[in-house]
Every structure is written in structure tokens, then in C-alpha cells.
């Protein structure tokens, strides 16, 4: 239990540090990503060892989609907007996803063979 709490604190510290830097930066850049990059650098420089964050990271990643439930529920406030734009949403979903998928798969497959 003690170990897990330390791991959570380390992850929260990097998140807050990322948010703080994002707040100071003159342009907009997601704080979460700055935190990710900082933690990655800390791992590269061996400042943080993988074991310091391993269990909590794996747990959070396994159930990550759970964390988005409250935001996804927020959709209920936007029913009018969806009704107005449903066709675009549908087209974007189907066409954009299919075309992106085919082009990345094709390019990577050719690249991997050569």
C-alpha cells in the first residue's frame, strides 16, 4: 500500500510540474504532455527508476478509459448540437477513420518490407 501511494505521488508531482510549466509558457501546450516528457527524461537520466512507478502506471493504463466516463457523460448536455451536426459527425467518423487507417497501414507495410 505504502509503495502504491509513493507511486501515485510521483505521478501527481510530474503532472503538477507539467501543468505549472504549461501555465508559464507563452503558447498553449498540454500540461499532461509536458509531464509525460519530463517523466520520460527522468527515466532516461535514471533519476526515476521504472520500479518507482510501474504498478500504478500499469493499473492506470489498463483502466484509463474509466477516467473518461464523467466527460463522456457530459455529452448529454449537447444533444441539440449532435442533432444539428449528426451527418458531419457520421461522415467524419467513417470516411476520415477509414482513409487514415488505409493510408497508414499501406505506408507502414511498404516501408517495413523495404
Amino acid at each position: 500500500m505504502y509503495k502504491i501511494i509513493v507511486q501515485i505521488i510521483i505521478l501527481i508531482l510530474f503532472t503538477l510540474l507539467g501543468e505549472l510549466i504549461a501555465y508559464i509558457l507563452p503558447f498553449s501546450f498540454p500540461g499532461n504532455l509536458i509531464g509525460l516528457i519530463l517523466l520520460f527524461l527522468a527515466l532516461l537520466t535514471k533519476l526515476i527508476k521504472p520500479v518507482y512507478i510501474k504498478e500504478t502506471s500499469q493499473f492506470l493504463q489498463k483502466y484509463m478509459s474509466f477516467l473518461f466516463v464523467p466527460l463522456c457523460v457530459g455529452l448529454m448536455v449537447y444533444f441539440d448540437l449532435i442533432q444539428m451536426h449528426w451527418l458531419e459527425i457520421l461522415l467524419v467518423l467513417i470516411i476520415s477513420t477509414t482513409v487514415t487507417f488505409i493510408s497508414t497501414a499501406w505506408v507502414a507495410n511498404r516501408g517495413a518490407k523495404s
Partner: protein, 230 residues
């Protein structure tokens, strides 16, 4: 603050049931995030509880999106050798993915005569949710709608993956992993895990780099398409 006593247990309970059901039946459309949210929306509508009440009670859940995103540094670190070996292919594929994605969205938004709010909501569509909400908000999109579209993209991407691999003879595990991660983010990665470990690692790298590249390119992409529709 008192709402935390029912919002969090209820959310965990419903998610838990769907999670187990999905593990059992292996149906992509039974996506735990989407299904749990739909059940909760139905519950809130039926009981007449408004969203703000639920939102307030579930803030603690949303708070952990930050640390969970930051923790992606670990798989990135662990897969560094793989990245060094294939960095060219990975970056080219991701770049193509981000650009093609932007062009298709631009075309649809222009043809449908849509507005800039919808454009900002759509641009981060193929990026993992944690990063997508930040991009959507910073461009002036509706993050709640972005979350749903991102998840639907993932689910749809996984559904079309097997026929696309078959039709276009995509047999290489690296290519399969990269395309799943680049176009269907974390949902795609869960599918990549089913294919094998190379696919899973490549998909994880692709999802992280698609996020990073979209963050860097999205302001420019937004500006260009904005000029076309206004």
C-alpha cells in the same frame, strides 16, 4: 462534495460489469467507456439529476486523467530500443496519418459547410483521449463531444482493421501495430495486443507519437482549414 458518495461507486460498479462482459464476449462495440457513459446518461435522465451534479461528484475520477497520461512515459521508455530501430518508419507513418486525417476532416467540414467549433472538435479525433481533450479545448472545440468522437473512432477503427488488413494484404506486424495506434489510438492498441507483442509495442509508440505530432501540428491545421470555411 456529498455527491461523491454515490457518483464514484455507481460509476465503478457499471464500468466493472461492462468491463467483465467485454472480456467475456470480446465485442468491440461493447466498449466500456461508451457503454458505461450511455447507461449513466440514461440513469441521470430518468432520475432527473442534472449533469453538473454528477460532474461535481466525479471530479476525482477526471483528476486522474493527468497522472494516467503522464504515466505513458513508462511504455515509451521501455520501448525506446524498438523506436531507435524503426524511428524513420514510425515517424513517416505517423506524419502521413496526421496529414491524411487532417485533409479528410478539412474536406468534410468544407463540403458540409460546418463551423469552426465543429472543426476544433474533430481535429484531435484520432488522438488518445487525454491529449485530444486538451487539443479540442485549446482550439475552441467542445471537449465532451470530442471524447465521444474519439472513442467512436477507436471502436470503428478496430472494427475495420481485420478487413483492411486482409484486403490490402497488410501482413507485417509492425505495419499492423502502427496503423492501429495511429488511427484508433488506445482502443486500437487493445486490438493490437490481441495480434501480438510487436503489434502492441508499435501501436503504443504510434499512439504516443500521433498525440505529440497532432499537438504540434493542430494549430496550423486549424488555421488553414479555418481560412477555407470562413
Amino acid at each position: 462534495m456529498i455527491h461523491i458518495l454515490w457518483t464514484i461507486p455507481l460509476t465503478i460498479f457499471i464500468y466493472g460489469i461492462i468491463f467483465i462482459l467485454q472480456k467475456k464476449f470480446k465485442q468491440t462495440w461493447l466498449n466500456p467507456l461508451l457503454t458505461t457513459s450511455l447507461i449513466l446518461i440514461a440513469f441521470l435522465l430518468l432520475t432527473g439529476i442534472n449533469y453538473d451534479t454528477y460532474k461535481e461528484g466525479s471530479q476525482l475520477i477526471t483528476f486522474f486523467i493527468g497522472p494516467a497520461t503522464v504515466s505513458l512515459a513508462l511504455p515509451l521508455y521501455e520501448k525506446m530500443d524498438l523506436f531507435k530501430k524503426h524511428w524513420k518508419l514510425i515517424l513517416i507513418t505517423i506524419f502521413i496519418g496526421v496529414i491524411v486525417h487532417a485533409i479528410t476532416i478539412g474536406l468534410i467540414v468544407v463540403i458540409m459547410n460546418s463551423d469552426t467549433t465543429m472543426l476544433a472538435t474533430f481535429i484531435p479525433k484520432s488522438v488518445t483521449t487525454a491529449i485530444a481533450i486538451d487539443i479540442s479545448s485549446s482550439l475552441g472545440g467542445i471537449k465532451y463531444l470530442t471524447v465521444t468522437i474519439v472513442v467512436l473512432t477507436g471502436v470503428f477503427g478496430v472494427l475495420i482493421a481485420p478487413p483492411i488488413f486482409k484486403l490490402f494484404k497488410i501482413n507485417d506486424p509492425i505495419a499492423r501495430g502502427l496503423s492501429l495506434g495511429a488511427s484508433a489510438h488506445a482502443v486500437g492498441t487493445s486490438k493490437a495486443i490481441e495480434y501480438g507483442s510487436v503489434e502492441a509495442s508499435m501501436s503504443t509508440l504510434a499512439l504516443i507519437f500521433t498525440g505529440l505530432m497532432t499537438v504540434l501540428l493542430s494549430p496550423v491545421i486549424y488555421k488553414i482549414i479555418e481560412l477555407l470555411i470562413t
